[in-house]
Amino acid sequence: MAKKQLVQIKVNGRNREAMVEPRLLLVHFIRGIPGLTGTHVGCDTTHCGACTVLLDGKTVKSCTMFAVQADGCELLTVEGLMQNGKLHPLQEGFKEEHGLQCGFCTPGMLISSYALLSKNENPSEEEIRWGISGNLCRCTGYQNIVKAVQYAAGKMEQGGKDDLPNIA
């Protein structure tokens, strides 16, 4: 076993630290150390995106990164989307537009959609489909996910940028 290293990561605004083996995957850090089990593992081969988190403002697949690589970084996971007890417009959109069924892909989908909307406030259907193309969903056929993102885009346009948590 390789020697453990100290890793400090700010997860959803809170500092988390642990001594970990270098090979500990970031997804296992997130699920294990702060116990945030919203970030899922669906494939092991970097294909499904269920493990997607926002690392310093960019989406990454946390199953394809070591926790040590994220040392000193800021992470946003699905658990950090809600602010002051209020659902993020995207969360609302997924519920209103039936953007989920089994819910297993949902956390990753939400984070990818979040990143998309931070870059593009009013994406077209095509842009949304490309924006979530690193996230597989086996249940919804994506159509209502597209609608959910559009719903959120509309909401955020009305409500202004304040709706975005300023974690990342």
């Binding site: 390789a2 290293q5 083996e21 270098p22 081969t45 697949k61 990143a115 193309s133």
Partner: protein, 289 residues
Amino acid sequence: MIPPAFEYLRPQTIPEAIAFLQQYGDEAKILSGGQSLIPMMKFRLARPGYLIDINRIPGLSYIKEEDGYLKIGGLTREADLENSSLIHSKYPIILDTARVIADPQVRNMATLAGNLAHGDPANDHPATMLALGARVVAVGPQGERVLPIESFFVTLFTTELQHDEIVSEIRIPVPPPGSGGAYLKLERKVGDFATAGVAAQVIVGSGGICQQVGIGLTNVGATPIKARKAEESLCGKKLDETTIAQAAQLAADEAEPSSDLRGPAEYKRGLVKELTLRALARAYERAGK
């Protein structure tokens, strides 16, 4: 899936990284975007004893034109290429390429340098860099070497890089007026490697005469392929339906595909032909603009 154990090192400078590479020899591997290396480690197909994470080395992420070259830093990510206004305005072929690599999350991590250094003929940038006549800047204990892309790819997963060298920059000659390029890839779905891909870059002079042309092929051989015969067939000629078709056939002949789940070799050869046709046509069109 769980990768085997390793020691993790995070140098702050290139010389420090090179020193680690020398110290640990074959047991050490550079970790860049990790999007090829980590999946292989999870399959336990790669088992480096030491990972040298170069991601925190400052000053390696840039896209700029300088001294007649487009210079792309050793840590520049696919997403940086996608978002660069310089790439958008002057290098559509690179944009074509970056956009069809993997998916948004992977592109946020994956680097151009890693894409080349990995030596995987299925990767997309090699073909494009072959078409563009790029140079790879490698820094090692003896200093800097500038490697022409034409001889960079040796065999499957092997390049000209020595184990203690780091790709610090990729240089692409700034295309003169009248240049145009395109990369076309057929993939089974988003996130898949190419069934086949073709990059074409042309410089068209007066009268539509082709002054220079580069054609690179993805995933139809043990290494990325530079379609030299096809290139030669076009040089000094007018680009029209006949010459393009001829070149496409030559490119198809130069491909060395093998049959696999993405399709039989014969199909891939046909695909090279079709994609070469289309890539050259688009490159020509772009050259006119």
